[in-house]
Amino acid sequence: MSEAATTRRWAVLRRETGRALGAAIIALAVAFLIILFSSKTPLQAFATLTTAPITKVRTVGLWIDDVAKLTVAGLAYSLVFQARQFALGVQGQVYVGALAASYIALSPLGQTWCAIPLGIVCAMAGGALWGFLPGIAKARLGANEIVSSLMLNYVAIELANYLIRVDLTTPNSRLLSTAPFPSTAVFPALIPNTRIDIGLIFALTSVVAVWFALYRTSWGLKLRLVGHNSRFAQYAGIKEAFIIVSAMAASGALGGLLGAMFVEGRSFGKLAVSFEGNLAFEGLLIAIVARNRPLAVPVAALFYGYLRQGAQLMSIRTDVPSEIIVIVTAVIILLVASSYSVKPRAMLAAITRSSRPARTHVEAVK
C-alpha cells in the first residue's frame, strides 16, 4: 500500500474516532442533565453509570458477555447496510435462531456432544431463512425491505411466544420459559465464575469472517459496489438480485447465531419470553457508530456495552430507570449519522447556513 493511502487512512480513522467520542460525550452530558433533574441522588447515579461495570469481576463478565452479543448484532446490520439494504430484521432472526437452537437442545440430541455445533448450525439456518424472505421479496418484486423485515420481527416474536407456551414448556407450568438446557447444550465458560463463555470466540470469529468476506472476496467487492453505486454495479454486470438476497441471508445467519448465543449462553441456558431485551435493535447503533466497518464493530460494542451495563447497574442501585441508556443511544445515532462536526465553528456553520439547495446541487455535480 502506498504511503499516501496509509496516511489518508489514519486521517479518516482519527476523524471518525473523534466524531464517535464527541458524540458519546455529548450524549453522556444529555444523560447527566436528565439524571440531575429526575434523580434524588444524581451524583451517585451518574457515578454508578460510569464506573460500576469495572468494579467487580462479575460485572466485568456481564459487560464482556454483552459486548460479544452486541458485536454479532452490529455485524449483522453492517453486512446489509454495506449493500445499502435497510433490512431491520435482526430481532426476528434472533428469535427464530433461538427457537431452532432450543429445539435441538431440548431434543435427545441435546444430551450429546453435537448439541452445540448442531444447535448453532440450525440457528444460523433459521436466521438465514428469516433474512432470505425479505431479501427475495425485495430482489424479485421490489417489496420495501424495511417494512417486510419489521413485520417479520413481530411474526417471529409471536411465534416464539406461542411455541414457548404451547410446545416447549412442561404442561401446566406457569413459567414463561423452557426447562433449563442440559449441560451439554450450554456454552462452556472461558473464564470460570463469570458469564464469559465461548460466545465471545464466536463473536470474534464472526468479526474476522465478515471482514474477510467483505474485503477479501469478490462477493464482498460486488456487495460493496451494489451498496455504493447500484447503477454502476448493474453496468458492470453484477447480478444485483443475487447480491441483495445473499447479503440479507448472510446477515440473517448472523442474527440466528446471536439467537443461539443468547439461549445457549451461560446467562440464560434456556429459552424465555422476550429474552433479547432490545439488544438486537441496539446493534443498529453499533453498526452506525462503526460506519459498517466489521473491524470497528467490536470497538464500538466495547464502549456501548460498558454504558449499557452501567445503566443496568444504575437502575438496580439508584432511582434512575435503565431506559436512560436508550436516550443516550438515540442521541449518539442522531449525531454520528449526521454531518455534525467536533469543531464548534464548523458545527455552527452547518446549523445556521441558509438552505440554498441550488448550491448543493452544483457541489454534487462536481
Binding site: 431491520l88 419489521l150 411474526v155 431506559e323 442522531l334
Partner: protein
C-alpha cells in the same frame, strides 16, 4: 364460521373497524405526506408512542381537546427534529427515523416512571380522559333508515370524523393547490422545483412536520379512545403497518384510506376473534395484521412489477 360472519356484518364490528382503522389512517396520511416529499418516515411508530404518552399525561390536568393538541404538537416537534437532522445535518432519513423510534421506546418508559412514581408498565394510577364519541342519535328521526344510520354513524371518535375529513383535505391540497403540486414534484424531481425557484428543503421540512403532527393525532386516538391510558409499547407496530399502508395505497390519499381500512379490519378481527374462537391461540391471532401486511405488500409489489414491465416493452 356462521358466528364470525354474523359478527363481521354487525354494526358493532363496523364500529370496531372504524376505531382500529383511525390511528392507522392518521399515521398513513402522515407517512404519505413525508413519502411524497421524498423522505420515508420510518419514525411514525415512535412519534405515535410519544404522542400517546403526551396525550395521557396532559389529559390528566387539562380538557381532552388540549391533550389532543398537545399530542399533535409533540408529533410536530419530533417531525421538526427529524427535518433538522435530515435536511440541515444531512443524516440519512431512515437512521434518523430509527433514532426517534429507539428514543421513543425508552423515553416513554422513563417519563412514565417519573409521571406515575415508579410504575414502568402502564399509567393505571393516572386518571386520564378519553376523546368523546360523537353522538348522532338525532339521526334516528330520519324515516326508514334512521335506526341503521344511528347504529353505524353514531358513537365514533371525534378523531375518526377528523381523519375522514383529512383524507378529503389532503386530496384537495395535493391535487387542487399549487403547494400540493410542489409537494408531489419535490419527491419526483427536486431539481426541477429548484429551477422554478422553490426551496426543496423547506418543502420537505414542512412535510415532515405535518407528517409528525398527523402521527401525533394517531397517538392521541390510540391512548384516548381505543384504550384510555398508556401502556408500554402500546403502538405495537402500528406505525410500521402504516408505512406498509402508504405503499399499498399507491401513494394516494384515497388509497391510504382503503389500505388503512383493510389493515384496520384485520386488526379488528384480531380483537373479536379470541371471543369467538377460543381454540385459536392468541399469539397466532395477534400475528394476523403483520402477516396480512407482508402478503399485501408482496402482492402489491408484484402487481406494480407486472404493470411496469408491460409498459416498458
Amino acid at each position: 364460521m356462521i358466528e364470525l360472519l354474523a359478527t363481521v356484518f354487525s354494526a358493532a364490528f363496523f364500529l370496531t373497524v372504524i376505531r382500529t382503522s383511525t390511528p392507522l389512517l392518521l399515521a398513513t396520511l402522515g407517512g404519505l405526506i413525508a413519502d411524497l416529499s421524498g423522505a420515508l418516515n420510518v419514525a411514525l411508530e415512535g412519534i405515535m408512542l410519544v404522542s400517546c404518552l403526551t396525550a395521557v399525561v396532559v389529559s390528566v390536568y387539562a380538557p381532552w381537546y388540549v391533550a389532543v393538541i398537545a399530542a399533535l404538537l409533540a408529533g410536530a416537534f419530533l417531525g421538526s427534529v427529524m427535518a433538522f437532522f435530515h435536511l440541515r445535518l444531512k443524516a440519512d432519513i431512515v437512521l434518523v427515523g430509527f433514532a426517534i423510534n429507539i428514543f421513543a421506546s425508552g423515553a416513554t418508559v422513563f417519563a412514565l416512571t417519573l409521571a406515575t412514581g415508579g410504575d414502568k408498565g402502564s399509567s393505571t394510577n393516572l386518571i386520564s380522559k378519553p376523546v368523546p364519541a360523537l353522538d348522532l342519535s338525532f339521526l334516528g328521526m330520519v324515516p326508514g333508515v334512521g335506526g341503521l344510520l344511528v347504529r353505524t354513524l353514531s358513537g365514533h371518535s371525534v378523531l375518526s370524523w377528523l381523519a375522514g375529513l383529512l383524507v378529503f383535505v389532503l386530496w384537495y391540497f395535493l391535487y387542487r393547490t399549487s403547494w400540493g403540486l410542489q409537494l408531489r414534484s419535490v419527491g419526483e424531481h427536486p431539481s426541477a422545483l429548484e429551477a422554478a425557484g422553490v426551496s426543496a428543503n423547506a418543502l420537505r421540512g414542512w412535510s415532515l412536520v405535518a407528517s409528525g403532527a398527523l402521527a401525533g393525532l394517531a397517538g392521541a386516538q390510540l391512548s384516548m379512545f381505543n384504550y384510555v391510558g398508556f401502556t408500554r409499547d402500546m403502538t405495537a407496530g402500528r406505525g410500521f403497518i402504516a408505512l406498509g399502508a402508504v405503499l399499498l395505497g399507491a401513494r394516494h390519499p384515497v388509497g391510504a384510506l382503503l389500505a388503512a381500512l383493510l389493515f384496520g379490519m384485520f386488526d379488528a378481527l384480531s380483537v373479536v376473534m379470541p371471543g369467538l374462537f377460543n381454540w385459536i391461540p392468541a399469539e397466532l391471532i395477534r400475528m394476523i395484521p403483520f402477516v396480512v401486511t407482508i402478503v399485501a405488500l408482496i402482492l402489491f409489489s408484484y402487481r406494480m412489477k407486472l404493470t411496469s414491465t408491460t409498459f416498458d416493452h
